[in-house]
Amino acid sequence: MKRRTLLAAVAAAATLTGASAWAEAEVTAGFIYIGTPGDGGWTYEHDQSRRKMEAHFDGKVKTIFQENVPESADAERAITQMAIAGADIIFTTSFGYMDPTLAVAEKFPNVKFEHATGYKRSDNVSTYSARFYEGRAVQGHIAGHMTKTNKIGYIASFPIPEVIRGINSAYIHAKKVNPDVEFSVVWAYTWFDPAKEADAARALIENGADVILQHTDSTAPQAAAKEAGNVITFGQASDMADYAPHPRVSSIIDNWAPYYIARVQAVLDGSWESVDTWDGIDTGMVEIGEITDAVPAEVKESALAMVEAIRTGEYSPFTGPLNKQDGSAWLAEGEVADLGTLAGMSFYVEGITDEIPN
């Protein structure tokens, strides 16, 4: 067979199989990933939820995804491509896709867009996020009890409200059980760079931290902590159970599957509307991974009590009295922070010595 005819035949076959798969599905859902499903963290959970959603609809929904999309002009190109490829609903799963998502949404009014962790919406752009800070409160509680050096290291990614909220929530609850606790924050300026994350973890450990909290996506800090021996960590975005029972003593797990199923169902029903979703432990969007036996029983018990109190709505992690970093009053005794302030949080609470980079 001549090479050209072979190529043509292969192309035709590919088009045919592609077309038949498309014909069966009523809705195509697209996903834009910041890293790869193999990161073991953030993107892994989005991808797991995508699979669960696809399985739930049993052939009625086809999903497509693109991984490693940078938060730059490339994002706009990738999202546009997905819209042209026929996606009916597109989930853009990182904060930095906010403006690109809105720009593309304007050009494709019939496509629904769902942007994770952002705060800008339009008629065909919804936002969704999880109240990770509820999980951070539990981590802070355990960390405050467990630290012996009273130094807790925090690998932060970018100075955006979501990350700052997490640092504040963890700090407040660590301080509550251990007034001597100090936080060292390292800004890695990346969501995913295993070598840099490992270096950051080592730098913190060398500076005396014996608890490492991370807001980056890979399991590299867990590996670094394991190597150091006497350091504990928490799984971020995913359970990271490979590192349990030690160094990983608990985790925050993002469970997006119920949300993805509900939103795609809405597209199928024609009832999709632009909404702002911010769910936490109560709906199961934020799950607390198993607290291992490396944590003393009474600490585990009080941590689980806190999870329960947050779940029932009895307790909110941002409850006064709380001051801002500069000492000015923020929340009075018993006052609970409103969601608007939390959504745009750009200040530390009193006691944190780090400065938020600008």
């Binding site: 193999g38 995913f192 730098a203 010595t353």
Partner: protein, 307 residues
């Protein structure tokens, strides 16, 4: 600000570890470029080395076998580049970029079963009395064997290029392939060997990331280290000793800025992260202002005996 919590001893030790992968990749690329070939596929060869090395180490439980396999895999991938550019005379820049993309894709495919697995890692050497010297021992004499191997490799490459006949031929091929050919040297063969050496070094560098520095396999884990290695070669103006300086500078600044942050020092992180690249540009400006830019004259040009 509390600088006292930074231990200079541990800092130097960390810098040596973080500089090793880029130093290995850069010294290999230096030899490739000295022979007159520009291989932009360093990133692809590194990550292929990272995944193959990791897989081999996990399956044989021997990190050294992992490193050997990584060198082989890097060399094998560079063989593709060598055949395409040396025999089929394809464009070196495009082929090199293609190699990077192919390497990233291939490694993701190969690495799927190895995600989340822990690997055997290299033990730290105990150099007897040297390791026991207070301070200096921890700084310089308590590393794994690859750290020392990378330094030995730099010395070996320097001696090879400066003192051996083969090194002289390699440089001649890089400076003027037509003259070298007229003198009867096998230009293509020399370049093939240089490219294979570069591939093997990049593979070792990648394996150091996945087996020692991180240590685990994660898709895309080199995260630009190959490009930094390429920048170091330019920074070093194609001299082996300066590769070492460059690697410790690039690796050092990353570690230093993280340590400064961990100690609570207010540093402009973005500026510090960009500084090695700014220094590279500065070096380029200085060497071109002096007239001699140090780049091999035939760099990036294809050679065919009929020309």
């Amino acid at each position: 600000m509390d600088l006292s919590s930074i231990s200079p001893i541990l800092l130097v030790a960390s810098i040596m570890v973080s500089a090793t992968p880029i130093m290995l990749a850069a010294i290999g690329e230096l030899v490739v470029e000295k022979s007159g070939t520009l291989n932009l596929g360093v990133e692809g060869m590194m990550i292929t080395g990272a995944v193959v090395g990791f897989a081999a180490a996990v399956n044989t439980t021997s990190p050294l076998v992992g490193f050997a396999a990584a060198a082989g895999a890097g060399a094998l991938l560079s063989l593709v580049f060598a055949i395409l550019t040396q025999y089929l005379l394809s464009n070196q820049v495009a082929t090199g970029l293609g190699l990077t993309l192919a390497g990233l894709g291939l490694s993701a495919l190969l690495g799927k079963p190895y995600e989340g697995i822990k690997s055997p890692t290299l033990p730290k050497l105990d150099l007897g009395p040297l390791s026991d010297i207070p301070g200096l021992g921890t700084m310089f004499f308590k590393h794994d064997i690859m750290v020392y191997l990378s330094i030995l490799l730099v010395i070996a490459v320097w001696a090879f290029l400066k003192y051996t006949r083969a090194g002289l031929i390699l440089r001649a091929v890089g400076e003027s392939h037509d003259s070298a050919h007229a003198l009867g040297y096998k230009v293509v063969r020399v370049r093939m060997l240089a490219i294979l050496f570069g591939g093997a070094c990049a593979g070792l560098g990648g394996a150091y990331l996945s087996l020692v520095r991180v240590p685990q396999w994660t898709e895309g884990m080199t995260a630009g280290a190959g490009w930094i290695a390429l920048a170091i070669v330019v920074f070093a103006s194609w001299r082996p000793w300066r590769i070492m300086v460059g690697a410790y500078l690039f690796g050092g600044i990353t570690v230093l800025q993280l340590n400064l942050q961990a100690a609570g020092v207010k540093v402009p992180v973005a500026l510090l992260s960009a500084s090695p690249y700014l220094v590279t540009i500065l070096v380029l400006v200085i060497i071109s202002a002096r007239g001699a830019h140090g780049a091999p004259a035939s760099l990036g040009r294809s050679f065919h005996a009929s020309n």
